[in-house]
C-alpha cells in the first residue's frame, strides 16, 4: 500500500536533524573569508545532542528505510548550511563497501575515504581517465602516476580511492580502483580551490608521482559495480539541493509574509501576485523533486539502486537548486543580494548541485540510454 507518512522514529530523527541544522546555521558563513579552514568535527552546540546518524543505525527497524532517512539527513545538513556534526563518510566509503573484499573493508571501514575520479581532462567520462596504476611484480606493488582535480574531502580524508587505468602484464588494460592512504610517498594534496560557493567543503587536487601502494590496496571490484555507487549518491546530492532550496524558500516566504504575501493554494491565476505565483511554482517543483528523491531511495532500499530513478532525482535536484535560488533572490530584491542575509550564499552554493557527481546533462544521457535502450556508443 502506498504511503507517504513518516514513521514516528523517522519523524523523531528528522526533527532532531532540523533542530541541529538551525543551531549550525550561525556558522554557515564562517568559511566565506577563510576558505582554507576546515569545519570542526563537531560544533560546541552538538554537545549533549544525539548523533542523528548513530540514531539512524540503532533504530533501523523502526524506520521507513535506512537509506531513505539517511538521504534526508543530508537535506537537513544543507538546510543549516554546514553540518553541526560532520558525517565523516564519503563516496569512497560507499565504493569500498560495494567493491572491497572483507579484509579490505575491515581495514578502512572507519576511515573517511574520498573518491578520486575527475581529472583535468574531464570528469564526466571515466573512460578518458589517464591516471595509471602499473603493477610491479618484483615488489607486489602498484605504482600510481597521474593527477586528479576537484576532489571533495581531499585534505580532510584519511585515504583516497583512486580510479586508474591498470597496466598489468597478465590483465587487460581496464579501469580499476586503488586505495591510497594519506602519507604515502609520492601522493600530495594541492591547495584548496577557490570556489564561488560551498566554501566549507574541502576541495583540492591530488597528485601521484611514483606513488607505490601494496597489492592489498587494489580494490579489485567490478567497475560497473563501482560506478553503481553513483546511483546511490546521486539522490543524496539531490537531497542537498532540496535542503538549500528549502532554506532559500523558507527565508523568502518569511520576508514575503512581512508585506502580507502568503501562500494561497486556492487562488486562481489572476488572484495571485507575481511573487506568490512564482513561489508556488517553486513549491510544486520542490515537492516534485522531494518525491523523486524519496522514490529513488525507496527503490534502492527495496530492490537495489535504480539507475533511471537515481539520475532523475539528481537531474531534478540540480535544476531545482538553480531555479529556486535564482528566483528567491529576484523576489527578495535587495535583501537577496546583501551579504547581511544568506540568500546570496545559497545562490552561490546551490549552483554546484547540477554539476558535481554528474552534470544534469550526464544524468539525462544516462536516462536516455536506458529508456531508448541505446549503448553509450549509440548515444553519446
Amino acid at each position: 500500500m502506498i504511503s507517504f507518512a513518516f514513521t514516528r522514529k523517522d519523524r523523531e530523527i528528522l526533527d532532531e536533524a532540523r533542530a541541529q541544522a538551525k543551531l549550525a546555521a550561525k556558522y554557515s558563513r564562517d568559511f566565506e573569508a577563510d576558505e582554507d579552514a576546515m569545519p570542526p568535527h563537531e560544533y560546541p552546540e552538538a554537545a549533549g545532542r544525539p548523533d542523528t546518524r548513530e540514531l539512524l543505525e540503532s533504530h533501523v527497524d523502526e524506520l521507513s528505510g535506512r537509506k531513505i532517512i539517511h538521504a534526508l539527513l543530508y537535506l537537513e545538513d544543507w538546510y543549516g548550511g554546514v553540518p553541526l556534526r560532520e558525517a565523516r563518510y564519503s563516496l569512497g566509503n560507499t565504493v569500498l563497501k560495494i567493491a572491497g573484499d572483507p579484509a579490505q573493508y575491515a581495514r578502512w571501514a572507519d576511515k573517511t575515504i574520498a573518491i578520486g575520479l575527475t581529472e583535468p581532462i574531464g570528469g564526466s567520462d571515466p573512460a578518458s581517465t589517464r591516471t595509471s596504476a602499473t603493477y610491479d611484480p618484483a615488489n607486489d606493488e602498484w605504482v600510481i602516476e597521474g593527477e586528479k582535480i576537484f576532489i571533495t574531502y581531499a585534505e580532510s580524508c584519511d585515504a583516497v580511492l583512486v580510479l586508474a587505468r591498470m597496466v598489468h602484464p597478465g590483465r587487460p588494460r581496464g579501469l580499476s580502483t586503488f586505495m591510497v592512504e594519506k602519507g604515502t610517498p609520492g601522493f600530495s594534496v594541492g591547495k584548496q580551490i577557490r570556489k564561488m560557493g560551498i566554501r566549507f567543503e574541502d576541495t583540492a587536487g591530488l597528485s601521484f608521482v611514483n606513488c607505490r601502494i601494496p597489492a592489498f590496496n587494489h580494490i579489485d571490484g567490478d567497475l560497473k559495480k563501482t560506478l553503481q555507487s553513483f546511483s546511490e549518491s546521486r539522490p543524496v546530492v539531490a537531497a542537498y539541493a532540496l535542503g538549500v532550496s528549502r532554506a532559500a524558500m523558507d527565508f523568502t516566504w518569511v520576508r514575503l509574509a512581512e508585506i502580507g504575501v502568503t501562500p494561497d493554494y486556492n487562488a486562481t491565476p489572476t488572484g495571485l501576485c507575481a511573487a506568490a505565483d512564482r513561489m508556488l511554482a517553486l513549491e510544486a517543483e520542490w515537492d516534485a523533486t522531494w518525491i523523486t528523491v524519496l522514490r529513488a531511495k525507496w527503490i534502492e532500499q527495496n530492490e537495489g539502486p535504480g539507475k533511471i530513478e537515481s539520475s532523475a532525482a539528481k537531474a531534478m535536484g540540480g535544476a531545482l537548486a538553480r531555479k529556486a535560488t535564482q528566483t528567491c533572490i529576484e523576489v527578495l530584491g535587495a535583501c537577496g543580494l546583501s551579504a547581511e542575509h544568506l540568500a546570496e550564499k545559497w545562490f552561490r552554493d546551490a549552483r554546484i548541485f547540477d554539476i558535481y557527481e554528474g552534470t544534469g546533462e550526464i544524468q539525462r544521457l544516462i536516462i536516455a540510454r536506458e529508456i531508448l535502450r541505446y549503448s553509450p556508443k549509440e548515444l553519446n
Binding site: 502506498i2 537531474a315 541505446y374
Partner: protein, 361 residues
C-alpha cells in the same frame, strides 16, 4: 511508513483499466473528438467498469485507499482518452461528495441513481472558480425562507446537457457550502455548447444559475454542512491523475517514433537534443504521477490535502502541457496533422490544465 508499492488489489485494477483504455478508448478517441460528442457506446463501456457505482453503492465495502484507487484508474483511462476520463470523473466527484458528506436523506435520494448499470451524469460546479466567467458577475448563495437562492454561473461544464444534477459550490454568508441542484430546477440554464479547444467530446457548456431556489435539504450535509475544501482537493487530484495519464500516453507514443525516424542518416533519438527531451518527459511523468498519488493518499487519511493537491495539480498542469507540446514537436509536421493523436493531446493538455473544480476522484 514510506512506501511506493501499490497493493495487489490496486495493481490488478490498474491492469484491467489500462487494458480497457488501450483496447476500447484509445482507438475511438479521435472520432469522438472530431464529432464533438461522446458516443453512448463509449460512455456505457466506461460506466461498466463500475468505478462510480463502487462509490455510490453504500452496500458495497469501500476498497482500501479509495481515493488512491480512483486516481490510479483515472490515470489509466486518460492514457486511452482523457475526455472519457473527465466524463467519468464528473459523476465520480459528485457521487463521492454525496457518499462522504451527504446527509442520510441525501445519500438515500441520490446515490442509488449512480449505482445502476446505466450511465448517470453529474458535475461539480464551483461558482467562484474561473475568472473567465466575467468580472463582476455575482456568484453566491443567499439564505431565503425555507432554503437558499443561488446566483451565478459555471463555465464549461463537461457533458452539461446530459447532467441530471449539479453540485454547486458557493459561498453563503461568508461560509463555503455545497448544494445539490437538479438540472431541471427553475432557473438552471444550460447553454448550447460552443465547442472548445480540446476535450471536444465533452461538449462543454456554460451553466447559469439564475435565482435558483433550493430547499434547505439541498445543502450538502444539511444542517451539519460539508467540508467544501475536500471536494475541491479531490477535484485537483482527479485532474492531476488525468494529466499524468495523458502525459504518459504522449511519452509512450513519441519514444518509439524517435528511434524509427531517420534524419541525416541517423535516428533522431540518437541526437542529444531529442534524447534529452525524452529523458525530461520521462522524469516529469513519474514525478507528476507520484505527487498526485501522494495527495490522494493524504485524502484517504485526512479531510483535506489542500497544499499537496494544489501543488500536484499545478505541477501536472505545467508538465502535462510541456510534455504534450514536446510530443507535437518531436513528430514535426506529423505532430500537427489530425491523422495522429499528438495535436489532439496538445489541445487536451491545455484544456485540462485550466479546468478546476468540475470533477473528482
Amino acid at each position: 511508513m514510506i512506501s511506493f508499492a501499490l497493493s495487489e488489489e490496486q495493481e490488478i485494477a490498474c491492469t484491467a483499466a489500462a487494458e480497457f483504455a488501450r483496447s476500447e478508448l484509445a482507438p475511438g478517441a479521435r472520432a469522438i473528438d472530431e464529432a464533438g460528442a461522446l458516443s453512448a457506446a463509449a460512455l456505457e463501456s466506461v460506466w461498466r467498469l463500475g468505478i462510480v457505482q463502487t462509490v455510490a453503492d453504500g452496500a458495497e465495502a469501500l476498497p482500501e485507499q479509495p481515493t488512491v484507487l480512483n486516481a490510479l484508474l483515472l490515470e489509466e483511462l486518460a492514457y486511452g482518452d482523457a475526455a472519457v476520463a473527465v466524463a467519468l470523473a464528473g459523476p465520480l466527484g459528485f457521487a463521492k461528495a454525496i457518499a462522504e458528506q451527504g446527509s442520510p436523506r441525501q445519500k438515500q435520494d441520490t446515490l442509488p441513481l449512480f449505482a445502476g448499470d446505466s450511465p448517470r451524469l453529474a458535475a461539480i460546479a464551483h461558482l467562484d472558480a474561473g475568472w473567465f466567467q466575467g468580472a463582476g458577475k455575482p456568484t453566491r448563495a443567499e439564505r431565503v425562507a425555507g432554503g437558499y437562492r443561488l446566483v451565478g454561473a459555471k463555465a464549461l461544464v463537461p457533458l452539461a446537457a446530459q447532467c441530471s444534477q449539479f453540485l454547486v459550490l458557493a459561498e453563503c454568508e461568508r461560509e463555503r457550502a455545497a448544494y445539490v441542484v437538479a438540472a431541471d430546477a427553475d432557473g438552471v440554464k444550460i447553454a448550447a455548447s460552443k465547442g472548445t479547444l480540446g476535450l471536444r467530446a465533452l461538449a462543454m457548456a456554460d451553466v447559469t444559475f439564475e435565482n435558483v431556489v433550493v430547499p434547505e435539504t439541498a445543502r450538502l450535509g444539511e444542517a451539519e454542512g460539508a467540508d467544501v475544501q475536500r471536494i475541491v482537493d479531490l477535484s485537483r487530484v482527479a485532474l492531476s491523475a488525468i494529466l499524468s495519464g495523458l502525459a504518459r500516453a504522449v511519452y509512450d507514443y513519441a519514444l518509439p517514433y524517435t528511434k524509427a525516424r531517420v534524419v541525416h542518416g541517423e535516428a533522431i533519438a540518437k541526437k542529444q537534443a531529442v534524447a534529452f527531451k525524452l529523458a525530461d518527459m520521462h522524469i516529469a511523468t513519474q514525478a507528476m504521477r507520484w505527487m498526485g498519488l501522494r495527495a490522494a493518499a493524504e485524502l484517504d487519511v485526512a479531510t483535506t490535502a489542500t497544499r499537496n493537491a494544489r501543488l500536484a495539480q499545478r505541477y501536472a498542469a505545467d508538465q502535462g502541457m510541456r510534455i504534450a507540446d514536446e510530443g507535437v514537436q518531436l513528430f514535426g509536421g506529423h505532430g500537427f496533422v489530425r491523422d495522429l493523436p499528438l495535436e489532439m493531446w496538445y489541445r487536451h493538455a491545455r484544456s485540462l490544465s485550466v479546468l478546476d473544480g468540475l470533477i473528482g476522484a
